[in-house]
């Protein structure tokens, strides 16, 4: 089946709320990519901020993105992913 969900957490290493979300994801055994934006170098920070802005115009942390990837996007898979009949 060509559908899978991916989780990516944009956070700050200094932010307690980010830490709580991380702990929650860990407790729930959810695999996720963690990006601690403050630890990136300045060029990467700029680029990553632009990326976060696409999902969350306020650019606040934590921002958790859960995306669905469809590798064989036929009609059935698309409708199923969007919950349309």
């Amino acid at each position: 089946m060509g559908r899978m969900k991916k989780a990516r957490l944009y956070g700050l290493s200094t932010c307690p709320t980010c830490k709580r979300v991380k702990n929650l994801l860990d407790e729930l055994n959810i695999k996720y990519e963690l990006i601690e934006v403050d630890l990136l170098d300045s060029g990467e920070q700029w680029l990553t901020s632009k990326e976060v802005r696409r999902y969350n115009p306020a650019v606040t942390y934590p921002t958790l993105v859960i995306e669905e990837v469809i590798t064989e996007p036929d009609e059935e898979a698309i409708k199923e992913a969007l919950g349309i009949k």
């Binding site: 700050l12 200094t14 307690p16 306020a58």
Partner: protein, 110 residues
């Protein structure tokens, strides 16, 4: 500066401002760790809940206490980070809501 010492100082400072530190001391200590980390890497205590640019001029509005603290406490009972809160907030006389980011979006993004 240790977090414990900073805690003692900020407790008195908050009192002098007619506000309080969040009752959840464990949470406050985590915030203070973030403040001290920012102080050591940027040279000033910028908000641990926001991405700093690392340039003082750009970050001056988010150096703790940030310029958004007072309006946020007035409107929601706590600052964005929930470090500084009103007495009523600590006593749960007002609902604890997520404080929306008051900082203009064009300043966000490091």
């Amino acid at each position: 500066m240790t977090t414990d010492r900073l805690y003692e100082i900020l407790l008195k400072y908050a009192e002098s401002q007619g506000i309080q530190l969040n009752m959840d001391k464990e949470y406050v200590i985590e915030i203070l760790e973030g403040l001290l980390k920012n102080e050591s890497r940027y040279g000033y205590r910028s908000c641990p809940c926001r991405l700093a640019a690392g340039v003082k001029e750009k970050d001056k509005d988010i150096i703790c206490p940030c310029v958004y603290r007072d309006p946020d406490i007035k409107e929601y009972g706590s600052c964005y980070c929930r470090l500084y809160v009103s007495k009523e907030w600590n006593e749960e006389k007002i609902k604890h809501v997520k404080v929306p980011e008051r900082r203009p979006t064009d300043k966000q993004g490091g």
